[in-house]
Amino acid sequence: MGGIELTELEQDALTEVVNIGVSRAAAALRKMVGKQVLLSVPAVEIVTRERAATLLGERESDELVAVRQSFAGAFSGRAMLIFPEDNSLDLVRAVTGDELSPEEVVEMEEEALSETGNVILNGCLATMANMLKRPLTMSIPVVFRGGGSDLFNPDPEAGEDGLVLFLYINFTVLERNLRGYIAMMMDMPSLATLKDLLGQFIAEVVGEAPQ
């Protein structure tokens, strides 16, 4: 896969780093909405853009909604928080409270999504930067919709080589289970940097250089 592959341990490490991030995000959301919010990331994969698109296409029959932010620093690229369309309304309803009318939910959807996405993606990326001890800057979130292949269209300016860190994310908001995905599109140098940083993290935690 383009020369960059994460070892199992590196994948575990990345999963945990992201887990810390989404947990922070969940804590922030709890504060925002005053309700029980639980986030976890069970697995991570590095896949090509095409595979990411077919993966989403196979697993989701609905249209998708995504919140996208660009990031730059030791590693750079674009991050997306992706939901099936019906889940996104549930999420909005959950974070805004059930007292809103359906029209209001639809009206607020965009704003609520971009805010929620910002919290979660920020949590992830900031934690990664923090854990890996490198600063990152992030752009303003953008909400957009489409099928799997629309979401993974390459950005001609970013010059990305087409690899995607693909993370599954489980949301539990007020006992409601929602599923979503976090995708981070990075170029090769960024991935190589990430791999290095993960190696350092593992060495610290496990106590010796892992194989």
């Binding site: 575990d12 945990e16 804590a27 976890s40 069970p42 196979e58 697993r59 029959s61 593992i202 496990v206």
Partner: protein
């Protein structure tokens, strides 16, 4: 394994756990609760104090004194019993928890103090202080060794057997599937897939794998479904089997079942079926061709029967006509010049009618292929050209005649008189079909037949085709099928004999050729005569010249052998009138007597062919033994195959066809004697 962790807050009340002093008090209660929950043990990790507490069961598992475990252990103890191959990833996961991750759900191997290896599943949660800083990390271990084994067996059963499992609640949009299930359909491995994704692999026109419409109570029907694998697009056959399990809330059912690939066996089945199908088709074809052959045979037998009948009638008829014509002839010749003109006219009419009757008999014989043909090398182009005047007159002014003769036409060997007759017949038919106006084309072309046809007996080879095309009313299939039958006519009663086409048919077949009819109702008809090409000699042996009857007078002796008395008398009278000395015999035996004992030099024997006791031919052979070089002239209207081989006169055989006129008799006899 996506089980939600047991709600630990109920068991490990955080306030209580923050006070180590109260832990002992809770110990007993906890143990009971955890044992009831099926837990193998519980831990509580005080992050700030960096101390680790085990409940007695977990302490026992680790082989640690329960008392010590309750008082706190170094945190690294947590990893002490974890299998070394699992330890690094658990360290990473725990590091995540200590840095702020909330949910801990891992399974790994634990080396217990009793040296047994257990698969455990750890469910943990982190607890935070008011500043969202992690303070405690606690959880329980569940022994999943037995489950792990079962899962392992199930996984191997699936991958080794190529069987994928599914679980679907009818009406739900998603279906729980196994990895092997995804592999069989070429999908990325997933635990849950949208029904739409699974059904999208199904080929068009096939039933979906999961049907939301049918009655869920009905259960799972066995189905064989053709799919196209999502990853490589390869088409496969998948079998689906399962059961309806009634155990979910509200009395609903789950459909639990398996899918497996049956492409190979389907292939084998299909090949077998194809073989069977083509077998049937082959048998049908064979039966059809047999039926065609039977039909052809039946038709041939019918023609043969009609032929025999007509041949027999014609034979007797010719004898009668010979006498009638002969006698009219005689009467006419002896009619005094001053006799009543009406008598002459009457005799003339009688002769004309007799000649028509003779030609009718001729046609009957032609149809039954029993007329002796006298084939010669013929240039068909010249023959058709030669008929131009006759045909133009026949057609009348309002029908235009066109002839198209291909250059370099191949030679054929055919009885020219009969061919002219056949062409004339066809032209007359065409004229009648055109109701007086239109155009008629007579064409002659070379024709190469390269493949045998199911519908005709035509051999592969070269032919010369003469086609007569009209612009008349055409014929329908039923009429074409019967067109060659004798006495079949579409003309009004009294206008046609129904023998024209059957005569053409008989003659052409006797000549080794074929007749074809192509016709479209309302557009016209083309009848083609195909005659086999004559290969070899290019010598112009050529062309028949119509015999001119001529009178002759000589006093040679002629022996007439004929069993029919009237015919014999007519021949004898005629020859005598011509000046010949005539002896007569009523049968071959008598003839031999005459030959032996008359004492006269006999110049010619004029003999019938079919006679009682001995044929004319046998007589000739016997006579020639007695008198070599004896000239023999046969007279016959229907010689059967006595002097005919393959429909033609044998070489060196001379025949005077019955009925014959006085002139014809005179000419033929003279010709023989002069030869």
């Amino acid at each position: 394994m996506t089980e939600t962790p047991p709600d630990l807050t109920g068991l490990f009340g955080t306030t209580a756990l923050r006070e180590p002093g109260t832990l002992a008090d809770l110990g007993e209660r906890l143990n009971v609760s955890l044992a009831a929950a099926g837990a193998a043990g519980a831990w509580d990790w005080d992050i700030e104090a960096a101390r680790l507490y085990f409940d007695p069961r977990l302490a026992a598992l680790y082989g640690i004194d329960a008392e010590k475990a309750a008082q706190g252990l170094p945190t690294d103890t947590f990893f002490a019993a974890i299998d070394p191959s699992d330890a690094p990833r658990i360290r990473i996961a725990v590091a995540g928890m200590l840095h702020g991750a909330e949910v801990f759900l891992k399974s790994y191997r634990l080396r217990a103090a009793d040296r047994s290896v257990r698969w455990v599943e750890a469910h943990g949660r982190c607890h935070y202080d008011l500043n969202e800083r992690p303070v405690r990390f606690s959880g329980i271990l569940i022994d999943v060794t037995a489950r792990q084994r079962i899962e392992e067996r199930l996984r191997i059963a699936q991958s080794a057997g190529g069987v994928g499992t599914f679980e679907h609640v009818p009406g739900f949009g998603t279906v729980a599937v196994s990895e092997q299930f995804c592999r069989l359909l070429g999908l990325h491995p997933a635990g849950v897939l949208p029904v739409a994704t699974v059904n999208r692999t199904v080929n068009e026109g096939q039933p979906p794998l999961f049907d939301g419409v049918t009655n869920p109570e009905h259960g799972v029907d066995y189905a064989e479904i053709c799919i196209r694998r999502a990853d490589d697009g390869v088409q496969r056959w998948i079998a689906l089997r399962g059961e309806a399990v009634r155990d979910i809330e509200g009395g609903g059912v789950r459909h639990v079942g398996v899918i497996y690939d049956i492409t190979e066996s389907r292939h084998t089945q299909e090949q077998l079926r194809e073989l069977n199908e083509t077998l049937e088709a082959r048998v049908e074809e064979e039966i059809a061709s047999r039926k065609e052959a039977e039909d052809a045979l039946r038709q041939a037998q019918k023609m043969e029967a009609v032929g025999q009948l007509t041949g027999g009638i014609a034979h007797d008829f010719n004898n009668l006509l010979t006498v009638i014509i002969g006698n009219i002839d005689m009467a006419t010749r002896r009619l005094a010049e001053d006799a009543d003109a009406r008598v002459g006219r009457a005799l003339g009419n009688a002769l004309k009618s007799s000649e028509r009757a003779a030609s009718l008999t001729q046609r009957l014989l032609a149809f039954s292929r029993r007329q002796p043909l006298d084939p010669k090398k013929v240039n068909l182009g010249r023959l058709v050209d030669g008929m131009n005047d006759l045909l133009t007159r026949t057609l009348g002014e309002r029908i235009s005649l066109r002839t198209r003769i291909a250059p370099d036409l191949w030679r054929v060997e055919v009885d020219a008189n009969q061919l002219e007759n056949a062409i004339l017949n066809l032209v007359v038919n065409a004229r009648d079909a055109m109701d007086g106006t239109g155009s008629l084309t007579v064409a002659a072309t070379n024709e190469r037949v390269t493949a045998p046809s199911a519908h005709s007996s035509m051999q592969i080879g070269d032919y010369v085709a003469i086609s007569i095309s009209d612009t008349g009313g055409g014929m329908d299939e039923a009429t074409i099928a019967r067109a060659f039958d004798p006495f079949f006519t579409t003309k009004e009663v009294g206008k046609g004999t129904g023998l024209g086409l059957s005569m053409v048919y008989g003659f052409v077949h006797q000549s080794g050729g074929e007749v074809e009819i192509r016709s479209t109702v309302g557009e016209g008809t083309t009848i083609r005569i195909l005659l086999p090409r004559l290969h070899g000699s290019h010598v112009e042996g050529e062309d028949q010249v119509a015999q001119e009857a001529k009178q002759g007078r000589l006093s040679e002796t002629i022996l007439v052998v004929e069993d029919d008395e009237d015919v014999r008398n007519y021949a004898v009278e005629g020859l005598r009138e011509l000046g010949y000395a005539v002896l007569e015999a009523r049968d071959p035996a008598h003839a031999m007597d005459v030959l032996r004992h008359s004492g006269k030099a006999i110049a010619l024997v004029l003999t019938d062919v079919i006679m009682p006791g001995m044929t004319g031919r046998e007589l000739a052979e016997t006579a020639r033994v007695f008198s070599p070089g004896l000239r023999i002239l046969y007279m016959s209207g229907y010689p059967r195959d006595v002097i005919v081989r393959d429909g033609r006169l044998e070489p060196g055989v001379d025949l005077l066809p019955k009925p014959f006129t006085y002139q014809a008799l005179a000419a033929k006899v003279r010709e023989m004697l002069d030869d």
